[in-house]
């Protein structure tokens, strides 16, 4: 659905996005992770035909983003939720969606039906006729999400959709995004909230002006850390530690009576590891997989680039 090849954008001497190459499949939820200034918003703006690219190419549903004639078509395929909700304070939720629905040429009856459905799903129907300036931050964010969906776009670009929201507001938006996954909609989610990406995204890419890594959250974690096995013992003795070091594939960690042992292939290596520990006199209580968080993987990836 989205094919990006060597996409680059420079602002004077500054390269905001450098040679981004990526393919996002139909119905996939892809998270673009990165710190502020990593080029996430610039990427979305280029893909939404809002700003031009310096080099490279991208296609949305087969339409080239640099093609002026296709720009209107591309924009009609995309629902954009920018970082700032960007709503009209004097309009109500219904009038806001009606206005955007008209610009996207959604027929009147469909517009009305979709407005009711979206506002109901996002918990705004009860306040549909109140002016947006009376809304809380979370309500505005939800309305901005409804606006992005009023034309039922096959592609959705969400730029930090839960930024600056309180935990309750963020949860409502996140739950709604999780529901959107079922619609087979292609979603590009810009976020620096790793837990959000972990929960919602099929794959994530770490962007630091260049694409540093890409994969499923689990793949990303493993690609940085490899696999490790955590063994809890009655007591960690010198011979046990030595046996674990020989059976593992790197430096082991010892914390109290817990050993963390890097292994190349857990299924192949773990039986050998346990046998070695037992033969060295160790009493094994638990064996489990060490799971680094996405945050740890991200920090290591970003740290390596900065």
């Amino acid at each position: 659905m989205i094919e990006i090849e060597g996409l680059t954008r420079r602002f004077g001497e500054v390269t905001a996005v450098d040679g981004l190459t990526l393919t996002i499949g139909e119905g996939e939820v892809f998270g673009l992770l990165g710190p502020n200034g990593a080029g996430k918003t610039t990427t979305v703006r280029m893909l939404a035909c809002l700003i031009s690219r310096t080099a490279g190419q991208a296609r949305i549903a087969g339409h080239c983003i640099g093609d002026a004639a296709a720009a209107r078509k591309v924009r009609s395929l995309i629902g954009l939720m920018p970082e700032e909700p960007g709503l009209y304070p004097d309009l109500s939720a219904v009038k806001t969606l009606d206005f955007y629905g008209r610009l996207y040429r959604v027929p009147g009856a469909v517009r009305a039906e979709r407005t009711e459905r979206l506002l109901t799903l996002l918990g705004l129907w009860g306040r549909r006729d109140a002016q947006v300036k009376t809304y809380s931050k979370g309500m505005r964010q939800r309305l901005a999400l409804a606006r992005a969906l009023i034309h039922d776009p096959p592609v959705l670009f969400l730029d930090e959709p839960t930024a600056n929201l309180d935990p309750e507001g963020a949860k409502i938006v996140r739950d709604f995004l999780a529901e959107l996954r079922n619609d087979k909609r292609t979603i590009l989610l810009n976020t620096h909230l790793l837990e959000e990406a972990n929960r919602i995204c099929d794959r994530v890419g770490v962007l630091a002006n260049r694409l540093v890594a890409v994969g499923s959250p689990a793949e990303l974690r493993r690609s940085v850390w490899g696999s490790a096995t955590v063994v809890r013992l009655a007591e960690v003795t010198g011979p046990v530690e030595e046996a674990a070091r020989k059976a593992g594939s790197g430096d082991i960690g010892v914390a109290g009576n817990v050993l963390t042992v890097p292994v190349a292939d857990p299924q192949r290596d773990n039986p050998e590891l346990v046998r070695a520990i037992v033969e060295a006199g160790g009493q094994v209580q638990f064996v489990s997989e060490s799971v680094p968080t996405l945050e740890e993987a991200y920090l290591r990836l970003i740290g390596g680039r900065r």
């Binding site: 920018p82 700032e84 996207y104 040429r105």
Partner: protein, 242 residues
């Protein structure tokens, strides 16, 4: 150009801007003040003006509507453009299939139409009251005439268009509605200067002079149209306006 998009944007902008009391008041009070106030000058001071000079005064008074036409659209265009900038609502609007030209034209119409309607109503009231006050001394109704038609039908719209275009340029560099309005009012200086020159008799606002002035103004409008169109581009707005 999709005119449905233009109409949708213009209707939305008019709906928002006209909810502002200050805009509504300026749209009503300024043209109405001119329409009612200036004929009273002819009424109370007219006796001291020789009948032969009265038409010149009336025409100059009517030309004040051109000054008003430079002033009023600035107030609306500033709300429409800088207001969107402040609320950061331009990005979602630019993300719709509407083209830059459609958005600009929609906003231009929203800033142009209400002042023009208010000025035309004010102009009709002014002409009726002026005729009432001066009919006995002139022996005929002075208005309507070709000069009035040129001022209200040509000069006022051209001045309002210039005001809108100038507001686009000013708004690109402003982050505050009031600052944009203040900077925008500079555009009324040429029209005000012409008004003063007409009042002191340095310029005669006859149809020929007005036609030449309107031609020059149309040329400036055209040049400003290109300048404002070049300023109001997605790329410019998202990378330089902020």
């Amino acid at each position: 150009m999709n005119y449905r998009n233009v109409a949708t944007i213009a209707a939305k902008d008019m709906g928002i801007v006209l909810t502002r009391r200050s805009v509504r008041l300026s749209l009503v009070l300024l043209p109405l003040g001119v329409a009612i106030g200036l004929p009273q000058v002819a009424r109370f001071a007219g006796g001291g003006i020789p009948a032969g000079l009265l038409p010149g005064f009336l025409t100059a008074f009517l030309f004040f509507f051109a000054v008003t036409a430079a002033m009023l659209p600035v107030a609306i265009a500033s709300y429409s453009l800088v207001g969107e900038k402040v609320e950061r609502s331009l990005e979602p609007l630019l993300a719709t299939p509407a083209t830059d030209g459609e958005i600009l034209l929609g906003k231009g119409i929203a800033a142009f139409a209400p002042p023009i309607a208010a000025i035309w109503i004010g102009g009709v009231v002014f002409m009726a009251l002026s005729d009432q006050e001066t009919h006995a001394r002139l022996g005929h109704a002075y208005f309507p005439n070709a000069t009035a038609l040129l001022i209200l039908g040509v000069f006022v719209p051209l001045m309002a268009i210039l005001s809108v275009e100038y507001s686009v340029l000013v708004s690109a560099r402003s982050t505050d509605v009031r600052a944009a309005q203040q900077a925008g009012t500079l555009i009324l200086l040429p029209a005000a200067a012409l008004y003063v020159l007409a009042e002191i008799g340095a310029v005669t606002l006859d149809p020929a002079t007005l036609a030449v002035a309107a031609g020059i103004l149309a040329g400036i409008d055209l040049a400003m149209a290109f300048a404002s169109r070049a300023t109001f581009r997605r790329e410019e707005i998202l990378t330089r306006w902020a």
